[in-house]
């Protein structure tokens, strides 16, 4: 980026300087809290060191070990991949369904919006602790309620088969967060489209698939990307509830990363793990972005900007 100062007037020069001054906190922050750390992370991934021992250049060794000799890496990848594949569609379906309900035109709907959004604001350790108590196999309220209707509830977090679905269930509880975003998308759909379709004799089902869904695709796409990235980064639940167990059934990728980096202090190997996750997330985002050309409908926005 070359700046041709000489062709600028005094006022322009002053404004440009003021501009750089005003964004300088971000520039400094970007350099020291993002750019340098990311580059250093890539460098670290080619070394081997602990916090006390000096670093040693090992080339691609960390990556080779990861892909060929580390079953934990594959387990973490499998768990996290499965979780993304379970939780993202679940949140998408429930989120859209809930937003359709919240979009119904009845008085007092704001109260329901407030209620359904509550779980989205209280994420963190408190929620994890709450779910441990709710999903106790013998005394938990969920299994008790299931028993009332004659279903024997599973062992949830304590059953290798059910532990991962249990974490997905937790994320569905906070689906109100995505529903509010879909709701905004729904409210941007011009009502005259529905009226025109009604006159043409389209039923509710057809209006949903031919108008609502296509015009919601930009929001769907945005949420799909955000929720996929979030699902790759599950940590608190694994740390607080399961410690990665039982039988490594909830051995989430970031939890493995945390153990390697901050419990075993294998900083080089952990950096390689971090870099691989970053590459996976970015690749997935790029692929989604590429497919979006085929299914995301941008006409509504073109119309809106006219």
């Amino acid at each position: 980026m070359l700046i041709d100062w000489r062709s600028m007037s005094f006022r322009e020069r002053r404004e440009a300087l003021q501009g750089y001054l005003s964004i300088s906190p971000w520039v400094i922050g970007f350099l020291f809290f993002t750019l340098v750390p990311v580059l250093v992370s890539v460098y670290f991934s080619f070394t081997q060191w602990t916090i006390t021992s000096p670093s040693e250049w090992v080339g691609l060794h960390n990556y080779i070990r990861m892909f060929t000799q580390d079953p934990l890496f594959w387990q973490a990848l499998k768990v996290t991949g499965n979780f993304v594949l379970i939780s993202v569609p679940l949140k998408l379906i429930f989120g859209v369904a809930l937003s359709l309900l919240l979009n119904l035109k009845v008085r007092g709907m704001n109260l329901y919006r407030t209620i359904f959004y509550i779980p989205a604001v209280i994420s963190g350790v408190a929620v994890s602790l709450m779910w441990i108590w709710l999903l106790q196999p013998d005394t938990g309220v969920v299994n008790t309620l299931l028993a009332l209707v004659g279903i024997k509830g599973p062992g949830w977090f304590w059953d290798p088969q059910w532990a991962l679905p249990s974490v997905a269930l937790m994320s569905v509880w906070s689906v109100g967060g995505s529903a509010i975003v879909y709701l905004a998308g729904l409210q941007n759909i011009p009502p005259h489209l529905y009226e025109a379709a009604k006159i043409d004799g389209a039923g509710a089902w057809q209006r949903f698939w031919r108008i609502t869904i296509p015009l919601l695709t930009p929001t769907l796409f945005f949420q799909l990307v955000v929720e996929m990235i979030e699902s790759f980064k599950v940590f608190t639940q694994a740390f607080v509830i399961t410690k990665g167990g039982p039988l490594k059934a909830t051995y989430f990728y970031l939890y493995y990363f945390y153990e390697e980096a901050f419990q075993n202090f294998n900083m080089g190997y952990a950096s390689a793990l971090a870099v691989v996750l970053m590459v996976i997330i970015m690749t997935a985002t790029i692929i989604l972005n590429y497919t979006s050309k085929h299914w995301v409908y941008y006409a509504a926005e073109e119309e809106a900007t006219k």
């Binding site: 501009g19 906190p25 970007f30 992370s41 108590w133 970053m278």
Partner: protein
């Protein structure tokens, strides 16, 4: 012979009269929404119910939703059993420091991007947006090493410092908002002799209350709920913020779920209060930028 029914006119009489439908449809909506809201609230209600129970009541079969005698003293007991006051005070300090940082940095940075002309502005703004997509964990080890060198491990610096350089989400939000403020206001102030910075702090910023509210609320929520960073950077028990503090008690007192749920409930109370105070602006704000909790 074909049955008589096929002879009836094809236009069916409505099943219910128009008047009945006018109240029945919203009625059914309310019924369904209330039932669903009730199901969604079961976890929180059960948490409250448990927090009000006696030690042995929590295991009663069939489960009791409303304790016979509510043990309100569980809440004071939780405060004396766990250093909740200490943890919440620590979190409050972190919230305050992070809020100050964001409020100092974000309007200034956003002003540059929204109003001032300088070469390279557009590409730099693309980088601002791009940094939102870089997962935070990639930066953890290098940052940890830097803080370690600087002797900042087990201090609050790593949890506060980044706020003073502006969060990209907030910058984006603020830029978008500032762009909606008419430039005529700047020009008028400039004619009156106001300089660039006076315009920012005397003209633009007073009009930016909605995004400022969003920034304050989200900084509160994110800082209060933050777990991974305090876990990595802090070692001293007395300096733990609330989430880290709470996580330490899991398992240790697992028999006393009533006290434990009381403590958990106390820990989310500040967030619930804040949420009910600002829920209208918050939900409107999320809708406009797609931010989540």
């Amino acid at each position: 012979m074909r049955p008589e029914t096929t002879m009836t006119p094809s236009i069916k009489a409505p099943l219910l009269s128009r008047r009945t439908r006018r109240w029945l449809e919203p009625g059914l909506t309310y019924l369904f929404m209330t039932a669903l809201a009730f199901i969604f609230m079961i976890p929180l209600m059960w948490m409250l119910s448990t927090a009000l129970k006696g030690r042995w009541e929590i295991l009663a079969w069939p489960p009791q939703w409303i304790p016979t005698t509510p043990h309100w003293e569980n809440f004071t007991e939780a405060f004396s059993r766990y250093p909740l006051g200490r943890f919440m005070l620590n979190s409050a300090f972190l919230v305050a420091a992070n809020t100050v940082g964001q409020l100092l940095a974000v309007p200034l940075i956003a002003y540059g991007f929204a109003r001032l002309r300088f070469p390279g502005k557009n590409s730099l703004f693309v980088i601002v947006l791009g940094t939102m997509m870089i997962p935070g964990h990639v930066k953890l080890i290098p940052l940890y090493t830097i803080y370690h060198r600087l002797g900042m491990i087990d201090t609050y610096w790593p949890l506060i410092l980044p706020a003073f350089f502006g969060n990209p989400f907030f910058i984006f939000l603020m830029v978008q908002y500032m762009k909606t403020i008419p430039r005529d206001l700047d020009e008028a102030a400039r004619i009156d002799g106001a300089g660039t910075w006076t315009i920012l702090y005397k003209v633009i910023l007073p009009l930016c209350k909605p995004p400022m509210t969003i920034i304050i609320v989200y900084t509160f929520l994110w800082t209060w709920n933050e777990f991974l960073h305090p876990l990595i950077y802090l070692n001293t028990f007395d300096s733990f913020p609330i989430q880290l503090g709470l996580s330490m008690f899991k398992g240790r007192y697992s028999v006393e779920w009533n006290l434990f749920m009381a403590a958990t409930l106390i820990s989310i109370l500040p967030i619930l209060i804040l949420y009910f105070l600002v829920q209208r602006q918050l939900i409107g704000g999320i809708a406009s930028v797609g931010l989540k909790g």
